[in-house]
Symmetry: D2
Subunit: 289 residues, 4 copies
């Protein structure tokens, strides 16, 4: 039998879901996975080794979903010490691939200079769609924990109607909430109506928030300003990436109840979220070959 | 204008939902509500007064959903001191009504001897149906908190197909879980199939548990014995009233993961659960008149 | 190898679904099926023989879902000549079983006198549940054919909340209709509410019919009398067995639009309906052994 | 009181839904509707007059959803004589608007030359979304009429995952069919999976058709060629606009069961379809002002 040529991947930085991704991807024949920067993690993935050899050179470097917050170091909340991006890149063979999410331009340049290829998770639409599910379930878990009422019979407002909003609307509707969607595009409102939701143009947000128990924002611009917050008695769950959709100062002043919910997939369902990442990497590799 | 004749109700013992029930019922014209035995509760219900007058005589005494655990005192986790049932009964006018859940025979005798009427919540089918919703949502919240996977795509086994089981099956199915129902009656299995579930006769429980991520038990007899638990890798959420459905000793020995989840409505959704109780009392009173 | 002892069944009378039932049941090892009284049927079932031998004696006689209309002859719309019940019974061996639906007392006596056993389909709850599905789909097909509007967005009233009503409510809701359930029992209304329907006590039928596009009746007593019909502009689909739920004279006088829809499973989905009957017979036989 | 300035619209050609659209739009204050080319229609719309004055000049000309089949005459199946497009255009005031669906380039030129504006329904995304519902329900009605089985439990294949395919998949799933979606884009397959469907890449169509009872095609290119049709035993409902998705000759040769289902909204639900057109015209007019 011919030997299967072996590839190596180093998972560097990120939260628990990256360890589950590592474990999952190591099931792939011919791929050997290592991890680095997870000293604080309680979980030890099966069939994945901690990287100890400083001179190691891998075919693939796997950075987290938000690969860096400061542009200098890998985002690595479970690492005991900061990991400079340049140090991480030095782990890769010439011609190797660096996977990561939201890779900034400056980092892309470094990758290119180092003779490596970059693959950004967020360019993969399937991942975005699949990630919407743990995000919506995370919002559901927050609503259940924070409110003393059942989701069944509750009144929910969802802003926007992109992937995450659509999934959140479906999730709450499925449990018997009365869901209103406020969006800007009339075609989105037509779809929302077809999906069984009430609809309201986003320009009426100020009145749409009235009487709602739960408001789920997916719009990444500050649409919940003082005038809107004044009418908002329900719990706001803000799923939008920075800067989010809520005027922080006004919310504080008015005593609005807001949960800023970022990186929900990694918190709610790290195993599922890890498997989604593993599948995405696998798909990207299949397409490359 | 004629004066509306006024009735008085004392809410005595129970958890938070009884206070919400008191608040809700006090909206009823001609009804004045009091509470007693809630010294440890942080919440103060609107329009409901704490009972201070020892010689007070009410038309209605409202005991909690499980009115007593020991047969001697009112179940009153938020009270600073035990409340003997006889003391509680002395608060009611001759001919008045005592509401409570699962009222034991001995207590029924005392009520009769005191010249009072008894009304048991659990004889009211609507309450049982409505309570199934916060119970199922509570099971969902537990599953989301305990497991690192999404409900979407998870494999769930529900035992039995009564009110709670049916509601739980629907709740998890609605979120995209693959739900199997294991029940004894073939007609229940026919309904479960119609409701979109896979089905398995309960006699095959030992094999039905295999590969399931979540097992929700609604059967109040020990069907999860050692032989079944050996095949069970998933999280068991036991919703059955005492004695529950899981062999405690065997579960401990085998390291099975079990959550005994009692009184979920009061924990998950005390406001909704309180409103359900208030609506039940109102219905019983309407039927009496 | 031991010879499998062979049983014989004669399917006598009924509509197309009985032929599909015969075809399905003939797949059972050790069972040989014959048919009689289907001269007008275009379809010839596979592996089932037409009965020609007058002296034949079978183990099982399979009569249709409504076994007789007049108490004297087998209900046999596809037969060229009437089949007296006594003639049909003479086809069975002593100790054999007669299957049929709604077997009248007088026929039961004849069966007993002949030394045979009787098995009524309608005593089998699974069959009733499973038959509710082709019935509900039949009602849907009628509504789609009769009305120039989409089911999505239509306003539907369902009376009762038994098997057929529940299934019809679910079917129309699933397609985006707004469904109201009018029933007598409060527990039924509680379930209907939980199933996402609006609810109305049946005593308010007169007002509940207003504004509805489609009314589906499952109550087998004349609740649609003149006073109710006066308010009814929508299409009434009457699924109730005789005498049905609609005052025929009043409906004619007022020009109400009514479809009396009986035996829908056999009309809408004879194959599925036949398989349900075959499965029921198989289950009854399994329980007997 | 000031007089509301009055606009006039002539509905010319098309099927029944155009008359319902005329009736609906005539409810709009300040708009007077006329119709022309419906001599064969049994239905007389309320508040809409038949056009008799040859010298009439309208503000708006409302042509049907498929405005012309031959490029020369208005598509007018209910007219007793052909209506040349030039004759129709001569009914409009200079500066007036011509509404129509799929207006060919040559006709657009004529409209422009005549000093008129053109508005194509198909550029309005909401109409396309809303039309998907009567289309999907039409496909459902066809399946129910053609097949002797229930939709519940049937096996359905849907090709593509655009508006119509998505709506059809949801419609059949909602009734308990097992739906597989075969599409080309992986992101479409991800959505279909999230919507509860099984998925298959369209490149595997030949095997995906196996065992399916119903196949719904929405892809407007001949993907059901001889090799695919050989494996297809189920009923094909072709919803794709010309040339459709089925090799006509091969289907005939192989005896495949195909329903070419065009203009379903007008056939299944002319009232709803007419209201959708009326709403679209209203929206276009609102945006113009």
């Amino acid at each position: 039998m011919t030997k299967v040529s072996e590839y190596t991947a180093v998972f560097c930085g990120g939260d628990m879901r990256m360890l589950y991704a590592a474990e999952k991807i190591s099931e792939r024949p011919g791929l050997r996975a290592y991890y680095s920067g997870f000293e604080k993690a309680a979980f030890v993935p099966k069939n994945v080794k901690m990287l100890t050899d400083a001179d190691f050179k891998a075919d693939y470097l796997i950075l987290p979903m938000v690969c860096t917050l400061d542009g200098e170091t890998v985002s690595a909340p479970l690492s005991e010490k900061p990991i400079p991006i340049s140090e991480a890149l030095s782990l890769v063979k010439s011609g190797g691939i660096v996977f990561g999410g939201n890779i900034p331009k400056a980092v892309l340049s470094k990758i290119e200079e180092a003779g490596l290829l970059a693959a950004d998770y967020y360019k993969n639409e399937e991942l975005l769609i699949e990630n919407a599910i743990p995000t919506a379930e995370g919002a559901l878990a927050i609503a259940m924990e924070e409110l003393p009422i059942t989701i069944f019979g509750s009144k929910v407002l969802v802003t926007g109607y992109g992937r995450v909003a659509k999934t959140a609307a479906k999730t709450f509707s499925a449990l018997g909430a009365s869901v209103t969607v406020a969006a800007r595009k009339y075609s989105d409102l037509a779809w929302a109506g077809f999906d069984g939701c009430k609809t309201e143009h986003i320009s009426n947000l100020s009145s749409a928030v009235k009487g709602k128990d739960i408001i789920i924002n997916s719009v990444p611009s500050v649409i919940f300003d003082k005038s809107v917050l004044k009418n908002t008695k329900g719990l706001i769950i803000d799923l939008a990436s920075k800067p989010g959709g809520v005027d922080f100062e006004a919310a504080k002043e008015l005593g609005s109840r807001v949960v800023w919910a970022l990186s929900l997939p990694g918190k709610t369902a790290p195993v599922t979220a890890g498997y989604i990442i593993a599948r995405t990497i696998t798909n990207i590799l299949s397409e490359q070959v």
